[in-house]
Amino acid sequence: MSMDLNVKAIKKNAFRITKVRGKTALRIRVPGGLIEAKHLQAVKEIAEQYGDGTVHITIRQGFEIPGIPFEKMDEVNQKIAQMIKEVEIDNGVDIDNAKKGYPASGTRNISACIGNEVCPFANYNTAKLAQRIEREVFPNDYHVKIAVTGCPNDCIKAHMQDFGIIGMADTQYERDRCVSCEACVKNCSLRVTGALIMHNGKVRKDERRCVGCGECVLTCPTAAWSRNPEKFYKLVIMGRTGKKNPRLAQPFLEWVDEETIIKVIKNTYEYIDKYIDRSLPKEHVGYIVDRTGYQVFKEYALKGVVLGPKARVAEHINFGGYLYERDGFMK
């Protein structure tokens, strides 16, 4: 019997059409890039029993298992059900039946740097935030890429995402604990933006230059610098690769709280729903923003958002990047 497949339904189920006729590949989500090691067993078994024995580790921190015959999709979905239950459903993700596999693939895996469980630089638990975002936005067919990173080093490359969330430390200075060693000042000037200067033996911070990396806390020998326990984030938006206009994500919000981030992302899904070009098979959110303009996006994204006193919103954004059609080689 000839193979008769509903390709769109298959794609939505996180299986992919591959160059090998009759063979698919399963994409497994790992929100925040963090799972219990035991799940690797299921990945291994699917790859060895149904695939070609290999596993591709995706740029978004998922697993892609190639070489699976299309007719084995149901069995593979059974095999991955326990992982979907523990990683997704137990995390609060709205999936009815784990045994049917992933219900959507448009909104990609939420990736995260290793975060403050391990990294000294990270300003928060990135995996936890990624898992929360997963719960808030998934399953969803709209093509949105989100990644969270612990500090402005941006090891997860949040600047290449539609939404890049960057942890910011509101560093606070206890003047009397400062011994004028200048470690923070020298370090900030060498490695960051030079937001700190010495004045009369104590340190002054230029709030506008501070990117909230928290390096001053790390370098201070007396704990004169410490972080405000309240968490703050920077949100960079609409970064992308692709064949038209690759560009880095640009700052949209900074010094905002977690609730603001969540609300803005959820608002954006409504914005997509309203403005997406339905004549296309799919449209990435960045191109929708290109069509509507930043101001329309901004208005939608900030609906119902109450910004805190430290929050800053970009008035205008020049997304930049380069346009393939206008670059030097095509002129």
């Binding site: 990270a122 604990r177 011994v179 004045h199 790390l218």
Partner: protein, 341 residues
């Protein structure tokens, strides 16, 4: 005399004491630690027994209570000056035997090192009474037994904390009034740690010669140490400071003389007029500190300076262990001696 007080009763005791005393203990500053979502434990004023962090070692020592990190000595205008003031309360500090022994080293440096006492230290130190926190098990990196700092009798009150009550030994009768009608009288004597997992062999100071200062053993530290000075800042016995005159911005004719902590691992420590500076190499800073802690202080005052609290090891971002360094000194001296024979 001993007392057994519920936490509730102990808080009544603290309430009574607060009228006369500023009461300091190691306390937790949630999420104020070096890394995000970690806590900072350092000395601060307490209101209740629950504030006292007694199950962990503090990151910093209690020295900042008697030797503030930043201290204004006097204020000046064009033709007159006024000495700074200190508060008029007495001071009660909860601390472990190692730190009480450390306080004696600070006393030696500030009060008994030459004919002139440091009045700025003395004016705070003379207010202080100690509440010794019993320490039976020690913590990671502690080596107080090796430095004979695990034991002390220099305290007014000794306490053993448990989750819901406090056992107290009262040695200083001036505190008797605060205890009356509060707890059950009982016999309580604090116990002391007898053995640390870290053991240190202190060198015999007369075996250390000037040649040893140039020994190869120091070299590794030139690459390992980053000169951050955390060890100095965390140490109970590091007592260096530097003075500077600050001219106020709005009117530079008025200002203050201020002293702040200095550390021999930190840049500028040896800066002199004219731009001359010594010990640029970090290994020489490590050597300088080590020799002060376990050589020249002992030669001058008869006991080693280091009390083995291990805070320097706890805090070093480069995993340089001072206890290992001391052992290396002793071992190297022995090897050199046997090679010479």
């Amino acid at each position: 005399m001993g007392y057994r007080l519920s936490n509730e009763k102990f808080n009544k005791l603290l309430d009574g004491l607060k009228g006369e005393y500023k009461i300091y203990a190691p306390i937790r500053f949630p999420k104020r630690g070096r890394f995000s979502d970690t806590d900072l434990i350092r000395y601060g004023e307490i209101n209740k027994v629950e504030d006292v962090v007694w199950i962990e070692k503090s990151n910093y020592s209690p020295k900042e209570i008697v030797f503030p990190i930043t201290q204004t000595l006097f204020y000046f205008t064009e033709d007159e000056f006024k000495e700074s003031m200190v508060h008029n309360k007495k001071i009660l500090i909860f601390l472990r035997p190692c730190d009480i022994n450390g306080m004696r080293r600070l006393d030696t440096i500030f009060l008994n090192n030459g004919p002139i006492k440091d009045v700025y230290y003395e004016r705070l130190r003379e207010k202080v009474k100690f509440v010794m926190m019993e320490c039976k098990d020690g913590f990671e990196n502690c080596f107080c037994v090796s430095t004979n700092s695990n034991y002390t009798q220099d305290y007014s009150i000794a306490v053993r904390f448990t989750s819901n009550e406090v056992f107290c030994e009262l040695k200083d009768e001036s505190f008797q009034q605060f205890f009356s009608n509060l707890g059950t009288e009982m016999n309580f004597k604090p116990e002391y740690i007898e053995e640390n997992s870290v053991k240190v062999q202190l060198p015999e100071v007369d075996k250390i010669t000037t040649e040893f200062f140039n020994h190869d053993m120091w070299k590794e530290y030139s690459k390992r140490c980053i000169g951050c000075g955390r060890c100095n800042m965390a140490c109970i016995t590091c007592s260096c400071f530097t003075n500077s005159d600050i001219a106020y911005e709005e009117n530079p004719n008025a200002g203050e003389r201020r002293r702040v902590w200095a550390g021999c691992h930190i840049d500028k420590f040896t800066d002199m007029a004219g731009g001359h500076s010594f010990r640029q190499d970090y290994s020489s800073r490590m050597r300088f500190k080590t020799m002060h802690k376990i050589y020249d202080y002992k030669k001058r005052f008869g006991e080693h300076m280091c009390v083995g609290c291990g805070r320097c090891d706890d805090i070093c971002p480069e995993y340089i262990s001072f206890s290992n360094c001391i052992n290396k000194v002793s071992k190297t001296l022995k090897e050199d001696e046997s090679n010479a024979q």
